[in-house]
Amino acid sequence: MGHLNYEDSKKLVFRGMWLLAAVTLIEVVISLFGKGHLGYDPGDSMVLVMVVGVLIAGLSIYKAYYIIYEFMHMGAEVKGLRMSVLLPVLLLVWAIIAFFHEGNSWKERRQLIKEKNEIEAPKKTSSILLDKQTKSIF
């Protein structure tokens, strides 16, 4: 930014505005396409949901990069500052993996309990849970 003259840096800002607006619009179009609003019915294709998710997440990260590097001028800061602010964010990668895994396992367990509750218990003659061998002792 520092090397550019005033007129050029002004142009760059408004270029950034159109870029961010366009990327947002593309994201919305992709999202609506994935939800079946644009004439194509995705049915329950997991692959399409994944592709759409990765695409819009990628575009959002690009927008974040653009805002941090161009609007907040992170690109003009020294390396030490850049690294000390940006590297800690990498911790979130593990947070995302761990918590999403946790959420999924919670759902599976809930499903398992639901299924087990639906299993009919075998008809018992005795109200006390004892097998024949133990019973013979009494």
Binding site: Y6, S9, K10, V13, F14, G16, M17, L20, A21, T24, L25, E27, V28, S31, L32, K35, H37, D44, G53, I56, A57, S60, K63, A64, I67, I68, F71, M72, E77, V78, G80, L81, S84, V85, P88, V89, L92, A95, I96, F99, F100, E102, G103, N104, W106, K107, R110, Q111
Partner: protein
């Protein structure tokens, strides 16, 4: 930065050229700007914690309200221009996103004018930024009012449900049973519905029109509320972001008044205060990128 040359003259000689001497700026920025960056980093972790919690809780649920169904209304009846079934999915929030991007752009222009020591330019672009921020808050107020006042979603109640089976309704849209043998509307697996409220009864409890249906498997069922976590997470996270926007607008107004009064002209540091509030304002836009992604797009 002021350097205290008199104090600890001896110690200074012992550590000649040491980065820990003080006085030097290893990151080549002022203390205030550096601390603004670290504050934003910590705030990013707060928001990330909320958004990851949203993802984790969404994963625990077999069904989840579909955003393009929940957020399909727009003010001034704009959604009536679309088909009644789909409404205007995500159109209003897309407009809100544009508004925030626009106010971020005007903020960058304000910071640029500050570097040129152009006082009137800074005030002009900051006023536009404040208008953008207030516009965003207004939109959010409309969205919340629509959700709470018209669709009756609260922190603990989520009337947005999802069908887990395909089938036919046996009630009409007002919840009255259809004559025997007559089939109501058809729905498919994953279709969303909004349980309408008929009002509040004498005890002050809200009453709902939960329509009955028969699934293709022949089982009778009634519409159920969606996962209540949705309402709590929505109001908490967008509320927390909205509060950031609100406090940002307050700071922008204070600093804009300071600019207009000529305070930063006397400081002769290229309107650094404007730069700092600019960092905060861009961060609010940055967080919205991810709130928009998680709540509305996915």
């Amino acid at each position: 930065m002021a350097t205290e040359t008199v104090v600890h003259e001896d110690a200074k000689h012992q550590n000649e050229g040491d980065a820990w001497d003080g006085g030097a700026q290893p990151f080549k920025v002022s203390y205030g700007k550096l601390m603004m960056w670290y504050f934003l980093l910590s705030d990013a972790f707060t928001f990330a914690g909320f958004l990851i919690a949203y993802g984790a809780l969404r994963f625990t649920m077999p069904t989840w309200p579909v955003p393009d169904f929940v957020f399909k209304t727009a003010p001034f009846g704009i959604h009536n221009l679309f088909s009644a079934e789909t409404g205007a999915p995500l159109i209003f929030v897309t407009f809100m996103s544009f508004l925030l991007i626009l106010s971020s752009v005007t903020m960058v222009r304000g910071v640029q004018e500050g570097h040129r020591e152009n006082k009137n330019g800074v005030v002009f672009w900051m006023v536009l930024t404040i208008i953008g921020g207030l516009g965003f808050l207004g939109c959010q107020a409309w969205e919340w009012n629509n959700l709470i006042g018209h669709e009756h979603m609260t922190v603990l109640t989520n009337p947005f449900g999802t069908h887990e089976d395909s089938g036919y309704y046996t009630d009409d849209t007002h919840g009255h049973a259809l004559p025997a043998g007559q089939q109501g509307e058809r729905f498919e697996v994953g279709d969303s519905y909004l349980i309408h409220s008929t009002g509040v009864n004498a005890e002050g409890e809200r009453e709902w029109t939960k329509r009955n249906f028969v699934t293709d498997g022949g089982e009778k069922g009634t519409e159920q509320f969606g996962p209540k976590q949705f309402g709590a997470l929505f109001f908490f996270i967008t509320g927390f972001h909205g509060f950031h926007v609100f406090s940002g607008v307050v700071f922008l107004i204070i600093i804009c008044l300071n600019v207009a009064s000529g305070l930063y002209v006397r400081r002769k540091n290229g309107y650094e205060m404007v730069e700092k509030i600019g960092l905060y304002w861009h961060f609010v836009d940055l967080v919205w990128v991810f709130v928009f992604l998680v709540f509305y797009l996915l």
